[in-house]
Symmetry: C2
Subunit: 254 residues, 2 copies
């Protein structure tokens, strides 16, 4: 018998999952397809969750090692590439990939040293737009337009299966640069916050009710560019250089 498969990347991140049974079912199907890294953001019920353990069957190790965070930004802090599984891209300017394309790109990214995380939303409502906005790309499944709402574990099953198929591919796509380390979400977040504070100071976000949309669009633009660590640093230097001497800057905004 061939050896067990236990790939640490990609990690799967469940955003505000509700039912313990579904979390357990996700753990099981991840390990079925050789994935072991589960992250949970603000699970509705208490954690650890006995129902999750019951459904996970032999995959309790995936549950035990699951990283639980209250804030999505903490769960994504070390990620260098983030996918959001959703049927509704809602007008965000992001690449949209099917499972095969996503799996193939993730495989190439991991080979290049990246740390990708794939987000799945809560059972009933899906992810919020601001959560999806953190993603570099959208993962969509080719579902029936007449009945598109998938069970959470089934959606993860399809992705994990597609990733398992991609393990056997021999041609690595060249979407990812190999020369320089990519920026993590934490580094990008620091840059965005810096930029947004300075833009607020300059009354850029006008009218004010359009501010969230304007921020999302700015983020989408930089996410698409796939900044390296160095470039994220450079951008912060740019922001500083552009704003220096404007006066009234708070001390903590760099």
């Amino acid at each position: 018998m061939p050896p067990p498969i236990e790939d640490a990347w990609p990690a799967v991140c469940l955003v505000r999952p509700q039912m313990g049974e579904n979390i357990g079912a996700v753990a099981r199907v991840l390990l079925n397809f050789g994935l072991i890294s589960l992250r949970l953001v603000a699970p509705r019920d208490r954690w650890p969750n006995p129902k999750a353990e019951q459904v996970a069957v032999g995959a309790d190790v995936v549950l035990k090692n699951a990283k639980v965070e209250w804030k999505l930004e903490d769960a994504l802090a070390d990620a260098t590439l983030v996918l959001a599984a959703t049927a509704r891209p809602r007008g965000l300017e992001k690449p949209v990939w099917g499972p095969r394309e996503a799996a193939s790109k993730l495989r190439a990214a991991i080979a290049a040293g990246e740390r990708p995380v794939v987000m799945f939303g809560p059972e009933a409502s899906g992810m919020e737009t601001d959560e999806i906005a953190r993603a570099d790309a959208i993962l969509t499944l080719p579902v029936n337009p007449g009945f598109a709402s998938l069970n959470l574990a089934n959606a993860v099953a399809v992705f994990a299966y597609a990733f398992a198929e991609a393990r056997q591919e021999t041609d690595a796509p060249s979407w990812f640069r190999l020369d320089n380390p990519p920026a993590t979400q934490e580094e990008l977040e620091g840059m965005f916050n810096h930029l947004e504070q300075e833009l607020e100071h300059g009354r850029f976000f006008h009218p004010i009710d359009k501010a969230p949309l304007m921020k999302r669009n700015l983020r989408a633009l930089f996410l698409r560019a796939r900044l390296t660590q160095q470039e994220a640093q450079t951008m912060r230097g740019v922001i500083k250089a552009l704003t220096i001497g404007r006066g009234g800057r708070k001390k903590d905004d760099a």
Copy 2:
């Protein structure tokens, strides 16, 4: 929004399913990927099953239209191509296909007028060898050898997703003859029974404890040949011609 997808073929056949929740989850994920034909063989609990309806969510139409039979041969009677989803081919001489290959071949078969059925075994134990022996080919999923036991609905999800991807392919493989109608399982079953009775009469199955294996190997041979209706009829003529005048034949064995 594009129109709903509701493909009558392939049908999915759950062999001796145990938990109503799993049957409901299968119905849901079938409709998620545009498949509507569900067959159940000897479900463990009473039918209709309220737990199945609860889990099926908006896919109750798939449950309502499900064909329920007590014997597998009745559930497969009209099928012209049968796949068995199993991780353990157990030495049967049958083609083994991954989800993509299976989906692609099924699509071509349906375009050629075939009626394919994909069997999935019970949750705990999987299918019996005699059940798997009825299949023309084996469907295997690329699972982790260290943790291969999939939840039933997740296994169906992977297959249904692969079939949905195959809908978008433009190149139809030419595995299937288009000229003559293929034999149904019922027609093949009649031929096998006829052949086996005559072989028993001729004491072919010796030693007797090897009879089941010998029968399975014979069936596998003819299934691989993908007989047409005409060829199945011809084979029965051959058997008659070979056995006529042996004496002692029972009246009901043709």
